[in-house]
C-alpha cells in the first residue's frame, strides 16, 4: 500500500538505490529474505499491529532460532523472559557502573504487545532458540559518560535513566519522516506511524505490512549520513548484530532476525564486528549488569512519550487483548472513552453515559473520515476534546485531558514469577502487599485509613507502611494518626496513609537488596545501623527504639533496649536523657497499639532516663542559650512526671537537691533556666513567691541584660503558671517593675515580657490584665483604651522589638562563647 504512495521525489539530494516502486519492492523482498534460511522481520517496539503480524509470520516461517534486538549480556538467562508465570509489563534494567558508582540505567521494557516478547514467547512454545544480539547497554549512553571526562565523579544529571534502544529516535527525526508527516496530513511522527502502520496496517498480510514498514525505514535511512549514524552509536550496534547473525546462520538451519525496522533496512549490508571485540564500555572499565524488574504502564507511557515506541499502553493493551475480534481498535476506544468520562465525572465534570456514547461514535466517525480504517489514539484524544470539553479547551480542558491521559496510560503493574529470582526483596514487597490485601497498581495516590486498635490486619499494614517509610521507599506517606515519636495526637484511633506505587520503588528496593532478603530484614539492619551510630546518645537511641516498635520489629528492639540502658549511664547530656524519658513515657501511653507491653524493659527504662536526667540537672545552666526552649520543655515534662506518675519519677530528695544545685548554677548563667527551676521547685513545694519576687528586683537592677526580667518570668511561667495568677509578691514585683522602670528600659524589655506572658492562656492573660489595671487604678475600659497608642509609639515599639530580636541572637552567641556571670548574685 505504502510502497506506491511513497513520494519518490521527496528529496533530490538523496541517492536512492531503487528508482521505481516495483524495483523498491523487489529490493526489499530480498532484504527480508523470507524464502531464504536467514529472514529478517522489521519491528517497532510496543506496536500491537507489528506484534500480531510477527506472531502470524513466525508460525508460518518456523525458524530454529530467533535473534532479537536486546542486550546480549542477558542471553544466559533469556529463557526467563518468556516464563508464562510473568505478567507484563516488565523490563530488563541494565545498570552501568564504574568502580561501584552507578553511571546510569537503561530500561528495555516489554509488554504483551511488544514484538520482542511475542517472539520470545513463540520460541519457548515452539522449542526454538532465542538470542539477544545487541550491545549490552546503549553504547551511546556510555560514550556520553566518557566524553565528559568526568570518570571519577559522574555528572548527576547524566545519572538519569536512559532508554535501552532508542530506535525511533532516528526514524522519527529522519528527513523523510518530516516530509511524510506533511504529506499524510498528520501532525507528528507518532500520528503518521499510527495512521499508516497500526490503523491501516492492521488488515494487511504480514508480508505487505513488513514491506511497507521496511520501505519506510529504507527511505528514512537514505536521508542519513554515515557520520550521523556513527554519532548515534548505530554503527557499532549494527556491527554487533551482524556478528550474531553470521554466527547464528552457521549454527542453525533457519534463522529469524527481529530488529527495529531502522536496522533491518541495513543489516544485510553491515560488516560484522570482529568476534569478541572489546566494546568501548569494556575498554573504559564500565561494568554492566542486567536484571529483570517489574514495570508499569504509567512508567512505560512516560518513557515512550519522548523516546521509543508508542505511548498510551492501556489503549494498545486493549487492542492486543481483543486482537481476535473484528475491530479491536473500536473496543479499545470505547473502553478508554467510557473510563475517561467516568474519571472526569469523578473529578467534577458533568459528563454522562450519553456523552461517552457520543464520543465513541465521534472517534469512529473521525477515523473513517480520515480513511484510517480503525480508530487510533489520536482520534480518541480528539474525540474527548471535542465531545467532553464544554468550552475553551485551554481553560476548561485540564480535567478531561488529564482523565483521557490517565485512561490511555492505564495503571497496570507487571508481576514476575519465581524464575525471575533476581530480587527477592521485590518479591517480598509484592508478597507483603498480597498478604496485606493491598492491590498493586500504578494509579493515582490512594488514601487508606487504618483502624489500629480494631483490626489486626490494619495494624500489620501500619507496620509494613512504617517499614516502607523507614526504607525511604516512595510508597507510603503517613498523613495522620497518633505519632509516638512526637507524642502528638496519641488519642487518635485511626491512622491515615497515602499510598502510591511506582516502578521506581522496585529500583529503590533493588538498591537496598544488599541489606537483606525481606523488607523486615532490611529495616532491621538499618535500624541496628542507626542505633550503632547513636552510640551513647540516649535520646537518639530511644528514637530508634520507638521507630522499631512502630515498625513491629520487636525482636531487634529487645536488643536495643539493653544497649539503651547502658547508654543512659554513659550519657552526660541532661537534655538527651530527659527527652529519652519523655519519649519512653509516650511509648508507654501508646503501648496497646505497639504491643510494647511485651517489651518488658520500657517502664524501667523511662524511670532510669528521668533518674539519670535528674542527677544531671546542674548541667542545665550550661546549655547553650539557643536551647533554652528545649530546657523549659524538658523541665515541664519532668515536673509532669513527678506530679502525675510518681512511679516513673526519681526520689523526691534526690530531685530537690539536684534542682537546687542546678538553680545555683543557673543564677550565674541564664535567667530563663533560673526561672524555670524556681518555678519547678515552687511546684514541688520548695521556695516561696517572695523569693521569686526578690529575683525580679535583683534582675531589674542588673542593667546588663534588658531581657533578664522577661526571660526569668518566662522560665517561671513555663514551670508554674500559678506563680503569677493569684495575688502575690511575684505579681506585685512585676507591676512594680513595670511602673518604676524608665520608659526606654521598659520598652526595651517589652518583647521579652510579652513572650513570657504569651505562655498564659487567653483567660489567664485577661485575669492578669484585669488585676494589673486595678493596681494602676484604671478601669478595664481605660486599660483597653491604652492600646490606642500613637503611631510614633507604635513605630518605636516596632523598632525596639526588631532590635531586641537581633540583640537576643547576639547574646546567645556571646553567652555561648564566654559563660561569665553578668547577673549580680542575689544579695550582692
Amino acid at each position: 500500500v505504502l510502497l506506491h504512495a511513497i513520494p519518490f521525489n521527496w528529496e533530490s539530494k538523496v541517492t536512492l538505490t531503487f528508482k521505481t516502486p516495483a524495483e523498491l519492492r523487489k529490493g526489499l523482498e530480498k532484504v527480508l529474505g523470507w524464502n531464504t534460511s536467514l529472514a529478517l522481520f522489521p519491528v517497532r517496539h510496543h506496536s500491537p499491529t507489528c506484534a500480531l503480524k510477527l506472531d502470524k509470520w513466525l508460525r508460518k516461517f518456523k525458524p530454529d532460532a530467533v535473534l532479537i534486538e536486546g542486550p546480549a549480556a542477558y542471553n544466559d538467562r533469556i529463557d526467563i523472559l518468556s516464563d508464562p508465570k510473568h505478567q507484563a509489563p516488565f523490563a530488563l534494567v541494565a545498570t552501568a557502573r564504574k568502580k561501584g558508582d552507578v553511571l546510569g540505567r537503561a530500561y528495555y521494557p516489554f509488554c504483551d504487545y511488544s514484538p520482542e516478547l511475542v517472539a520470545l514467547r513463540w520460541a519457548r512454545e515452539a522449542g526454538a532458540k532465542a538470542e539477544f544480539i545487541d550491545l549490552v547497554y546503549g553504547e551511546r549512553g556510555v560514550e556520553d559518560f566518557l566524553q565528559d571526562g568526568t570518570d571519577e565523579e559522574p555528572d548527576l544529571e547524566r545519572r538519569e535513566d536512559k532508554l535501552g534502544a532508542a530506535e525511533d529516535g532516528p526514524l522519527a527525526r529522519s528527513r523523510f519522516t518530516q516530509e511524510l508527516v506533511k504529506r499524510a496530513g498528520c501532525r507528528d511522527f507518532d500520528e503518521v506511524w499510527e495512521a499508516l502502520f497500526e490503523q491501516q496496517g492492521w488488515d494487511l498480510s504480514p508480508e505487505d505490512w513488513a514491506l511497507d514498514v521496511l520501505a519506510y525505514s529504507h527511505l528514512s535511512r537514505a536521508g542519513y549520513r554515515q557520520d550521523e549514524l556513527e554519532a548515534e552509536g548505530t554503527v557499532a550496534r549494527e556491527a554487533c548484530m551482524a556478528r550474531h547473525m553470521e554466527e547464528a546462520s552457521k549454527k542453525y538451519k533457519k534463522v529469524a532476525v527481529i530488529t527495529g525496522a531502522f536496522h533491518t533496512a541495513a543489516l544485510r549490508d553491515v560488516a560484522p564486528e570482529a568476534p569478541r571485540a572489546r566494546t568501548k564500555a569494556e575498554q573504559a572499565d564500565i561494568e554492566t549488569d542486567v536484571y529483570l524488574a517489574t514495570y508499569s504502564f504509567p512508567r512505560l507511557d512516560a518513557l515512550l512519550g519522548y523516546a521509543s515506541g508508542m505511548s498510551g499502553p492501556a489503549f494498545y493493551q486493549h487492542i492486543w487483548d481483543h486482537r481476535t475480534k473484528a475491530d479491536p481498535f473500536a473496543i479499545a476506544a470505547q473502553r478508554v472513552l467510557v473510563e475517561a468520562s467516568r474519571l472526569a465525572r469523578h473529578d467534577g465534570e458533568t459528563l454522562g453515559t450519553a456523552d461517552a456514547i457520543g464520543a465513541v461514535a465521534f472517534a469512529v466517525g473521525l477515523a473513517e473520515f480520515r480513511g484510517r480504517g480503525h480508530v487510533g489514539r489520536v482520534e480518541v484524544v480528539e474525540s474527548a476534546r471535542t465531545c467532553f470539553i464544554k468550552g475553551d479547551a485551554e481553560l476548561l480542558g485540564r480535567r478531561v485531558l488529564g482523565a483521557v491521559g490517565e485512561t490511555l496510560r492505564g495503571t497496570r503493574v507487571g508481576k514476575l514469577g519465581e524464575s525471575a529470582g533476581q530480587s527477592v526483596l521485590v518479591l517480598d514487597f509484592q508478597r507483603q502487599l498480597e498478604d496485606l490485601r493491598l492491590p498493586l497498581e500504578h494509579g493515582r495516590p490512594q488514601d487508606k485509613s487504618l483502624d489500629l486498635y480494631g483490626s489486626e490486619l490494619d495494624l500489620q499494614r501500619s507496620r509494613f507502611f512504617q517499614q516502607c517509610k523507614y526504607l525511604e521507599l516512595d510508597f507510603a506517606e503517613c498523613t495522620g494518626g497518633p505519632n509516638l515519636v512526637t507524642g502528638e495526637d496519641l488519642t487518635l484511633k485511626m491512622e491515615t496513609w497515602r499510598l502510591q506505587y511506582t516502578p521506581e520503588i522496585e529500583a529503590q528496593l533493588t538498591d537496598q537488596a544488599v541489606f537483606g532478603a525481606t523488607i523486615e530484614d532490611v529495616a532491621t539492619s538499618k535500624l541496628v545501623d542507626e542505633a550503632l551510630k547513636a552510640e551513647n546518645k540516649s535520646a537518639e537511641l530511644t528514637l530508634a527504639v520507638v521507630k522499631g516498635l512502630v515498625m513491629g520489629l520487636h525482636r531487634p528492639v529487645e536488643r536495643l533496649i539493653g544497649k539503651l540502658a547502658q547508654a543512659m549511664f554513659a550519657d552526660d547530656d541532661v537534655l538527651s536523657l530527659l527527652r529519652a524519658g519523655a519519649t519512653l513515657r509516650t511509648v508507654m501511653e501508646g503501648r496497646e497499639r505497639l504491643e510494647a507491653a511485651s517489651v518488658d524493659g520500657v517502664p524501667q527504662l523511662a524511670q532510669q532516663a528521668f533518674m539519670q536526667g535528674a542527677l544531671r540537672l546542674e548541667r542545665l545552666a550550661h546549655i547553650s542559650p539557643d536551647q533554652v526552649e528545649s530546657v523549659l520543655g524538658a523541665l515541664s515534662t519532668l515536673l509532669d512526671v513527678v506530679l502525675t506518675q510518681p512511679k516513673l519519677a526519681p526520689p523526691r530528695d534526690l530531685l530537690l537537691s539536684h534542682a537546687i544545685a542546678g538553680r545555683e548554677a543557673a543564677r550565674l548563667q541564664s535567667p530563663a533556666v533560673l526561672g524555670a527551676l524556681d518555678g519547678f521547685l515552687l511546684q514541688l513545694g520548695e521556695g516561696d513567691l517572695a523569693g521569686l519576687a526578690k529575683r525580679i528586683v535583683t534582675l531589674s537592677q542588673g542593667k546588663t541584660r534588658i531581657d533578664g526580667v522577661g526571660s526569668y518570668l518566662e522560665g517561671v511561667i513555663s514551670a508554674s503558671r500559678q506563680a503569677l495568677l493569684g495575688d502575690g509578691p511575684l505579681f506585685d514585683a512585676l507591676i512594680a517593675y513595670i511602673r518604676d522602670t524608665e520608659w526606654d528600659d521598659f520598652l526595651a524589655s517589652l518583647p521579652s515580657l510579652r513572650r513570657a506572658l504569651t505562655r498564659l492562656s487567653p483567660r489567664e492573660t485577661e485575669s492578669v490584665a484585669e488585676r494589673a489595671a486595678k493596681l494602676f487604678g484604671i478601669t478595664k475600659a481605660e486599660a483597653t483604651a491604652l492600646f490606642g497608642a500613637s503611631p510614633e509609639v507604635v513605630a518605636r515599639l516596632g523598632t525596639w522589638e526588631q532590635g531586641y530580636v537581633a540583640d537576643e541572637r547576639k547574646w546567645a552567641a556571646d553567652a555561648a562563647l564566654k559563660p561569665a556571670a553578668q547577673i549580680t548574685p542575689e544579695g550582692a
Binding site: F362, L366, C387, K390
Partner: protein, 377 residues
C-alpha cells in the same frame, strides 16, 4: 448581481469551486448534504496543488482556513452527527468565517443565520407573526414568519447562530428541545402544522466569543447538545503571513486599489502580532500581552488600511510607516496602557533587532515616531 455586493456570501464567492467539488464528488453524502464530508474539508483546506474539473475549466481549491486541519475535520464529523457544533475562541480567529464556509459547502447557503445579541428574543430564534395577517386571519401558517432556524429545520439545512452566548440565557435554552428532540412546536397552529420536525441534514453551528460573555453561563443542558471546538490564532508564521497578504490583497483589489503589498512588510506586521499575542519575542524576551485580541483578521485589517493609505497618500507601495500608523489603532482599543506595551515592544524587540539585522527592521524602528506618545502619569 453578486459582484456588486459589498461582501458576497461564501456560496456565491466560491461558486466555481463548489461546483467543481460537487462534480468531482464520488464519496457518500449524508442526507441533504451538497458535498460529502471529505469534499467539505477539501473546500475549506484547499486541494493543495490538485486541480479539479475538466481541462478547459481546471480549478484549484484555495485554502481558506489555516493552521489546524484536524479541527476542520472534526467540525465536519460533528456536523454529520446528532450534535451541534459550537466554535469558541478569541475574537477574530475566523470562527464566523469557518461557520460560513461550512454552511455554504454543506447546505449550499450560509444565510440561514441568527445573529445573537443581548436583544435577541425567543421569537428571533423560533418564529414570529405577521401581525396584520394574524389579526385578519388568526394563527394560520401563512401568518407565521419563519426564523432562519425554522427554515433550516424544515429544509434540512445548517443554521448558523452567531455570538450565541451573548443572548439571554432563557433564549439560549429555547434551543434545548430543538437540539435534543429535533422538533419545534408551534402551539398556536392547528393540526399537523403545530410541529416542525427537523429534516435530515439539519444542524446548528454556533459561535461564541471567549473574550466577553463566555460559555460558562450556558446551561449544562444546552452544552450537552453541542460539541465544542476551540479556534486559536494561527501559530505558524509562514501560514499567517501568506493568509494576511492574500486577504489584504483581495480586499484592496475589491476596493479598486492597486498597491504593491510586499511580503517583507507583511512579515513584519505578522511577526509583531504573533510576538505580542504570545507575550514573548523570537529571542525569548518576555513582553506584556496587550488586552486586545490580536487576531489574524485584525492583521488583515491593519494591512488593508495601510494599503489604502499607501495608495491614496503614498506611492502605492506598502511601507513599514503605513503599517505603524495603523498598528496603534489595532493594538490600543480601550486600554491606554496597551499603548505603553506597544511602545515597549519597539524598545525591547524592534530596537535590538534593527541593530542586529538592520534592513526593514531599521525602517520600522524609524517609524516608531509616528506612534502616539505614551502619556506619563
Amino acid at each position: 448581481v453578486a459582484d456588486h455586493n459589498l461582501r458576497p456570501s461564501a456560496e456565491i464567492l466560491y461558486r466555481d469551486e463548489l461546483a467543481a467539488l460537487e462534480a468531482a464528488d464520488t464519496f457518500a453524502k449524508p442526507a441533504n448534504w451538497r458535498l460529502s464530508p471529505k469534499m467539505v474539508a477539501k473546500f475549506i483546506l484547499g486541494s493543495r496543488g490538485q486541480k479539479l474539473g475538466d481541462k478547459k475549466n481546471e480549478i484549484e481549491i484555495t485554502q481558506k482556513f489555516f493552521g489546524d486541519d484536524a479541527l476542520v475535520e472534526r467540525c465536519v464529523v460533528t456536523l454529520a452527527s446528532q450534535r451541534g457544533l459550537l466554535l469558541v475562541g478569541d475574537p477574530g480567529t475566523a470562527k464566523s468565517m469557518l461557520s460560513e464556509l461550512l454552511a455554504a459547502a454543506i447546505s449550499g447557503t450560509s444565510l440561514l443565520t441568527v445573529q445573537g445579541s443581548a436583544a435577541t428574543t425567543e421569537e428571533n430564534v423560533k418564529y414570529s407573526w405577521n401581525y396584520a395577517m394574524l389579526l385578519g386571519k388568526g394563527p394560520v401558517p401563512e401568518a407565521l414568519v419563519a426564523s432562519p432556524l425554522y427554515t433550516a429545520m424544515k429544509s434540512g439545512k445548517l443554521c448558523r447562530f452567531e455570538e450565541m452566548t451573548r443572548c439571554p440565557l432563557e433564549v439560549q435554552d429555547s434551543l434545548v428541545s430543538v437540539m435534543s428532540d429535533k422538533v419545534l412546536l408551534v402551539p398556536e397552529l392547528k393540526g399537523d402544522a403545530n410541529v416542525v420536525y427537523a429534516q435530515e441534514g439539519f444542524n446548528l453551528i454556533g459561535t461564541a466569543n471567549t473574550r466577553d460573555r463566555g460559555v460558562n453561563e450556558m446551561s449544562a443542558a444546552l452544552k450537552r447538545r453541542f460539541n465544542f471546538e476551540t479556534v486559536r490564532p494561527i501559530a505558524d508564521l509562514e501560514s499567517e503571513i501568506s493568509l494576511v497578504q492574500r486577504e489584504a490583497e483581495k480586499l484592496l483589489t475589491r476596493s479598486n486599489v492597486k498597491v504593491d503589498v510586499q511580503r517583507e512588510v507583511i512579515e513584519l506586521l505578522v511577526t509583531a502580532f504573533q510576538e505580542l499575542r504570545a507575550g514573548e519575542s523570537r529571542e525569548g524576551v518576555k513582553l506584556d500581552k496587550p488586552t486586545t485580541a490580536l487576531s489574524t483578521a485584525e492583521a488583515v485589517g491593519v494591512a488593508y488600511a495601510a494599503g489604502l493609505q499607501a495608495f491614496y497618500y503614498g506611492n502605492a507601495k506598502l511601507t513599514p510607516q503605513d503599517v505603524v500608523s495603523h498598528l496603534a489603532g489595532a493594538v490600543v482599543k480601550d486600554q491606554t496602557d496597551d499603548l505603553a506595551k506597544l511602545s515597549n515592544y519597539f524598545d525591547v524587540v524592534v530596537k535590538p533587532r534593527a541593530k542586529k539585522q538592520g534592513g526593514i527592521w531599521s525602517v520600522l524602528l524609524e517609524a516608531q515616531k509616528i506612534l502616539p506618545k505614551v502619556e506619563k502619569p
